[in-house]
């Protein structure tokens, strides 16, 4: 099996993925489109796993197939399902099709110039990347090279990426939240506690999620902490943690979650995650290093310089995890309740 070039089993997956993508866009029922889109994302995970990109596949499984599908559901729940167009706009569609076709042809014109798929000597695989592979262990004692590059070599990207998630959370709060034109900054009204037993709620679902959620959270913490040695890290763990809360709010009632996770808590914790990351970087400056140079933290963290890097990576991953978890919850709460914070999906 291992002798086959990569593309042998990828061809099937790729064609299927293409099919799913087109189906998702062609469906008139938005709910169906969202489901097919989720399936498409899972297929993408498979493709990436076969290409050896486990971390990406993990993230896509948690983010693309999991959370974004739920986001689309929440939106559809608050709006309408059907997507029957009023006007077909044939001419415009053909025009757009021509643009897309032209762009595609232009992109494909570069095809003969490309290295073959899976060529280990292609420029991408032989310029900087070997440095990471060869030095990840000596620089940071981290076998998962993706983690090292993510949080150390290109740590600045990750700081900004965390910021992007933070922005998304603030942006959605500021877009969707409905203020009752109160000029005073107050907590949203205390939400009355839901009835103990709601006949429309299923006991089975509640119990099942009650069993699942602790394990999910445990697993998420494992993913964050064990990101040095196995696929995963702050993002994946954070998303799973967020997803566990989202599961609770789906299976029980959004009110439960809203009671617990007020806007204040979510915003403070989301900001806190970014702050942890940025502050670890600043600490490096204060200890005579460059920004995000965890080796400068050598004197406070145990072990030698490489271990200092390893611990620094862990610290920032925790920051990332916190931000991602709470912003996912925040985004979900907003999308599901349509900014009203009283009821929802």
């Amino acid at each position: 099996m291992a002798d086959l070039p990569i593309w042998h089993y990828d061809t099937l997956f790729l064609t299927l993925a293409l099919l799913f993508g087109i189906t998702a866009l062609a469906m008139q029922n938005l709910m169906g489109a969202a489901i097919v889109f989720g399936a498409y994302s899972f297929l993408m995970c498979l493709i990436w796993t076969t290409m050896g990109a486990v971390d990406v596949a993990f993230t896509e499984a948690a983010v693309g197939a999991g959370v974004s599908t739920v986001f689309i559901f929440a939106t559809i729940y608050n709006t309408g399902v059907s997507a029957t167009p009023n006007s077909p706009r044939i001419a415009f569609k053909i025009f757009a099709g021509l643009i897309a076709f032209g762009t595609g042809a232009f992109l494909l014109s570069a095809l003969p110039d490309f290295p073959d798929w899976g060529d280990p000597k292609s420029p991408v695989n032989s310029t900087i990347a070997p440095y990471y592979i060869a030095n990840s262990i000596t620089d940071a004692h981290v076998p998962n090279i993706v983690t090292t590059v993510l949080a150390d070599y290109r740590g600045f990207d990750t700081l900004l990426e965390t910021t992007v998630v933070f922005i998304a959370c603030i942006a959605i709060y500021s877009i969707l939240r409905i203020d009752n034109a109160k000029s005073k900054v107050t907590e949203p009204d205390i939400i009355t506690s839901p009835p103990a037993y709601d006949p429309t709620d299923s006991l089975i679902i509640r119990q099942a999620s009650r069993i699942m959620v602790p394990f999910m959270q445990l697993f998420a913490l494992y993913v964050i902490a064990h990101g040095h040695y196995s696929p995963g890290g702050g993002f994946q763990g954070g998303v799973i943690l967020g997803a566990s809360i989202i599961l609770l709010s789906i299976s029980f009632d959004l009110k439960h979650v809203l009671q617990q996770w007020t806007e204040k808590k979510i915003m403070i914790l989301t900001a806190l995650g970014v702050l942890i990351y940025a502050m670890v970087g600043l600490a490096c400056i204060l200890m005579d290093g460059v920004y995000l140079d965890y080796a400068a933290l050598d004197s406070v963290l145990p072990g030698d310089e490489a271990y200092a890097r390893s611990h620094g990576i862990l610290l920032v991953e925790i920051g990332v995890g916190i931000t991602v978890m709470f912003s996912m919850i925040g985004i979900y709460i907003n999308l599901a309740s349509n900014g009203r914070f009283d009821r929802g999906l």
Binding site: P5, T15, V124, S136, I175
Partner: protein
């Protein structure tokens, strides 16, 4: 044919991306636009992952194995980690954009009771 087979994946990637691009441009439904956007982004991610793939290579997590050791790994047998990091970032950026897009779509729906672009335009010019 000889030229095409090793590069078949790029063709699929391009078709995927163009499907997404087309639906971002042409679809009248806002949610469909969002889904098209996500598909476009996945296409780009797939493109990046494919250029970093290596034949018969292991995942970028080093282990003590038969053909390479911990301190001195066999570079040709480890998938390129760099493209993967870039795409991790791109995925997260993608979901953030999707969230904001959906939030805006909900607000638009509240105003116009429709996801259809033409209808919204009609409502606005009324």
């Amino acid at each position: 044919m000889e030229d095409i087979i090793p590069k078949f994946n790029y063709i699929v990637v391009v078709v995927l991306m163009m499907t997404g691009l087309w639906s971002m441009l042409a679809q009248g439904n806002l949610i469909k636009k969002c889904i098209g956007m996500a598909i476009f982004q996945t296409g780009i991610i797939l493109f990046f992952i494919s250029i970093g793939a290596k034949n018969d290579a292991l995942i970028p997590i080093l282990t003590e194995g038969a053909n390479h050791t911990f301190d001195n790994p066999n570079i040709d047998k480890v998938t390129n980690p760099l493209t993967q990091i870039l795409m991790l970032t791109a995925i997260v950026v993608g979901v953030a954009t999707l969230g904001v897009g959906l939030a805006l779509a909900q607000k638009v729906y509240q105003q116009h009771d429709s996801f259809d672009e033409d209808e919204i335009l009609n409502n606005q010019t009324k």
